[in-house]
């Protein structure tokens, strides 16, 4: 084994989070401008908890990697939900099965470590922000009271045969009022989606300590080193990639 292989091998042996793991696109299902993507990995990732994310790149591509919070990440299998727009996501949406990809992670704080565990939650997802919420529901079904998912384009319903989808061609893609109306006094609300949607919910529930938002801030290194994703919080500057991606909305005064 040469020295380079040795470094990579020892990193894998240590369960290092920093090495890229080879993967390939196994299957893709598209509908309404979104795609569910199944990846097969050469090696297992460290254990994954809902709300965490993986970084992904096409092999040897010299762009910053992209962060995805999977619908599922178990063993050597990862399922993503992506919107089919943007440089890397368009490539993911069009490349043939067998295409070589690389993945590293998981990174970020698990959602379960951010929220209070003594109540149930309405999960409100917008666009690809639905992915971590599907994962959370699968891992913690007893903490979920209802779910509502919103997408701008119609036709996405085909990807979610068992879920309630609010697809709207115009206006606010997530019917915030639906999410709010589903919430009873005891429920908290966990939202993941585009910032305007999170801001809208934060404005509707000012000062609510039980509203959690998962941010889609552009990440750099993903491991807390580069500060590309730092945001202002009531507790000072925090890194979305390490301290988040989920925060209590009341910690983010700029959101409203």
């Amino acid at each position: 084994m040469n020295q380079v292989a040795e470094i990579e091998h020892s990193a894998t042996q240590r369960g290092s989070l920093f090495s890229w793991v080879a993967a390939e696109l196994v299957e893709r299902t598209s509908a309404g401008g979104y795609a569910k993507i199944q990846l097969g990995l050469r090696d297992e990732l460290a254990s994954f908890s809902a709300g965490q994310f993986l970084l992904l790149r096409f092999k040897d591509q010299t762009l910053l990697p992209r962060a995805f919070s999977p619908v599922r990440s178990e063993g050597r299998h990862v399922e993503l939900l992506i919107k089919e727009e943007g440089l890397v996501r368009e490539q993911l949406a069009s490349c043939p099965p067998g295409t070589q990809i690389e993945v590293r992670g998981p990174y970020g704080t698990p959602l379960i470590e951010v929220i209070e565990r003594d109540r149930t939650y309405v999960l409100a997802g917008g666009g690809s922000g639905v992915a971590p919420l599907l994962c959370f529901r699968a891992q913690h079904p007893n903490l979920v009271s209802r779910t509502v998912f919103g997408f701008r384009p119609a036709g996405v319903q085909a990807l979610f045969p068992d879920d309630r989808i609010v697809a709207e061609e115009r206006g606010d893609p997530l019917a915030d009022s639906v999410a709010l109306s589903l919430r009873t006094g005891a429920d908290g609300l966990i939202a993941c989606g585009p910032e305007p949607m999170l801001a809208s919910l934060a404005r509707a529930l000012p000062g609510d300590p039980d509203l959690y938002v998962s941010l889609e801030t552009r990440l750099g290194c993903g491991i807390g080193a580069c500060l590309g994703c730092s945001i202002e919080t009531t507790a000072g500057m925090r890194r979305v990639c390490v301290d988040g991606p989920a925060f209590r909305a009341v910690e983010l005064p700029w959101l409203t």
Binding site: Q3, E8, W20, T62, L63, P65, A225
Partner: protein, 305 residues
């Protein structure tokens, strides 16, 4: 592959450049810090800085624009809280400081330079992302700030120069005249991306710093020109190196040490891997010393020994 620079032994010539790897440094033990020569820490300033509002990053072909804005807890807190965390890293540690005020620079250098964790200090004269931080075009200001730094410590002072001004050689000469022992070049280049759907710049601060392979040929040319202008000065060549080939070119152009920034963001294991691959590259060519490579492009090439 040990190389002696600034009177110090470096395990190899690969340096984690200031910025991308400079925070969260407790992670570095896991990414083979033993396989890089040094880390340059994130830039500290006299007062705490929150950095720039989001968005701070956007893609570019073969690179990225960054707009971090020197986020740091201030030099005093940095020295107190961050330096102890790098004490055990098995590589050299280079501090990085920024201030346009000579008195405050002297004060910071005194604070940092006396710490055993610090082997050298880089004076950042060229951050493109913070108001008033890019003073390299004013040679009088450069001379004052660098002199203040040199007066404040016994550890070697390096001046970090911009790449997007032809005056960089003047800034380099002013820095050396003021007592700097070396130059780091280049900083990120000023660049812009506009969201064509929204019709607005992507970054909150609009103009950001372009890094990554897109700037490699520019960085290489600056290093080449600086080596020609300052034959005996220590140079850290930084800008777009993402593979062992790029590192070799930087050495050939005249860099004594090679900085890696963007490459770390993409792949935290990359700098260590390049360090090892550089050793393999040299062994294949029976090159025994880094000094045989450094500046060879100015001497007629590698075959002329």
């Amino acid at each position: 592959m040990t190389t002696r620079v600034l009177g110090l032994d470096f395990a190899n010539p690969i340096v984690l450049a200031s910025g991308p790897a400079g925070s969260g440094i407790e992670l570095l033990e896991d990414i083979s810090a033993a396989d890089v020569g040094a880390i340059t820490l994130k830039t500290a300033t006299p007062d705490p800085r929150p950095g720039n509002p989001q968005p701070r990053l956007v893609d570019c072909p073969s690179g990225a624009l960054n707009s971090i804005g020197l986020e740091n807890p201030g030099c005093e807190a940095f020295v107190r809280d961050v330096l102890p965390r790098v004490a055990d890293l098995p590589c050299r540690r280079i501090g990085s400081l920024s201030s346009a005020d000579p008195a405050r620079m002297r004060e910071m250098v005194r604070m940092m330079g006396q710490r055993s964790e610090i082997d050298a200090i880089e004076v950042n004269l060229s951050c493109p992302n913070a108001e008033g931080a890019a003073i390299a075009t004013d040679t009088t200001a450069v001379r004052r700030v660098v002199r203040a730094a040199v007066e404040g410590t016994d550890v070697p002072i390096l001046a970090k120069l911009p790449g997007d001004t032809d005056a960089f050689l003047d800034a380099g000469a002013a820095s050396l005249d003021a007592g700097a022992q070396g130059l780091t070049l280049i900083n990120a280049l000023r660049g812009l991306r506009i969201d064509r759907n929204a019709g607005r710049p992507f970054l909150h601060r609009e103009i950001g710093g372009l890094c990554g392979p897109a700037i490699f040929p520019i960085a290489l040319a600056r290093v080449f020109e600086a080596r020609r202008a300052f034959p005996d000065t220590v140079l850290i060549g930084t800008g777009g190196v993402v593979d062992v080939g790029g590192a070799v070119e930087m050495l050939l152009a005249g860099a004594n040490l090679v900085g890696i920034g963007f490459g770390f963001m993409v792949d935290p294991c990359l700098p260590a891997r390049i360090g090892v691959e550089l050793g393999n590259w040299m062994a294949e060519r029976e090159i025994e010393s880094i000094s045989e490579i450094v500046g060879a492009a100015h001497r007629g090439g590698l075959d002329v020994r």
